[in-house]
Subunit: 104 residues, 2 copies
Amino acid sequence: MDREIYKQKATIIKAMAHPSRLMMVDALAAGELCVCDLQRLVGADMSTVSKHLSVMKNAGIVTDRKEGLKVFYRLRVPCVMRFFECIDAVLLEQHTSYARMLGE
Amino acid sequence: MDREIYKQKATIIKAMAHPSRLMMVDALAAGELCVCDLQRLVGADMSTVSKHLSVMKNAGIVTDRKEGLKVFYRLRVPCVMRFFECIDAVLLEQHTSYARMLGE
DNA sequence: TTATTACTTGGTTAAAATACCAAGTAACAA
DNA sequence: TTGTTACTTGGTATTTTAACCAAGTAATAA
């Protein structure tokens, strides 16, 4: 059934649909980071950050690797970065029509 | 502040993060459709479909146009379709590692 | 005018997501 | 062993989403 596929796809997209998670993906585009780095980045409780990461891990967006005390996360499917280009296009379009509206 | 930008981006992504909405975007990729078409497609209450569309409209993903009794929606930023390619890559990767796991 | 169609909006209820604190685990250090 | 660091997981309160029904609006038809 098609329904099930759309549900799976929605789960993946939903896993990115949060400001802190987007921020983390953006940072991870440059390479591996430990949870402690990501916590500093988003400035939330460690448990909150950890839960955000597990959402993305379950969705298949990131993987992790333990090294000593630290756990390093990295993007599993780098193409998610191409999302951002399109999102920027949407934001730009919003901005453009807003400017157009003001000009009328 | 960066925070605000990430929040805006999350709003756009969140607007696609629902099975019915994904299904509609997919259908709209082929061209304009009226709310009645989209209702048949997703098979939910008309009011539900209308609200989903307004979420996407507010996010800047679709626009609408009234013609007689019908309201036609279309994608405003076609690049959202490129999302799907990447989502497919994530699903494929999930599938691949699952197969790998079974093989071990 | 009244009726019908195609939508949207308001209201309500149920389900899901999010944040923090507290407690638990795993690796290393003393 | 005991302590510390770096995380994860459980619990709970709050907020956000989502679905349907009912009522409202705009365009057309009779």
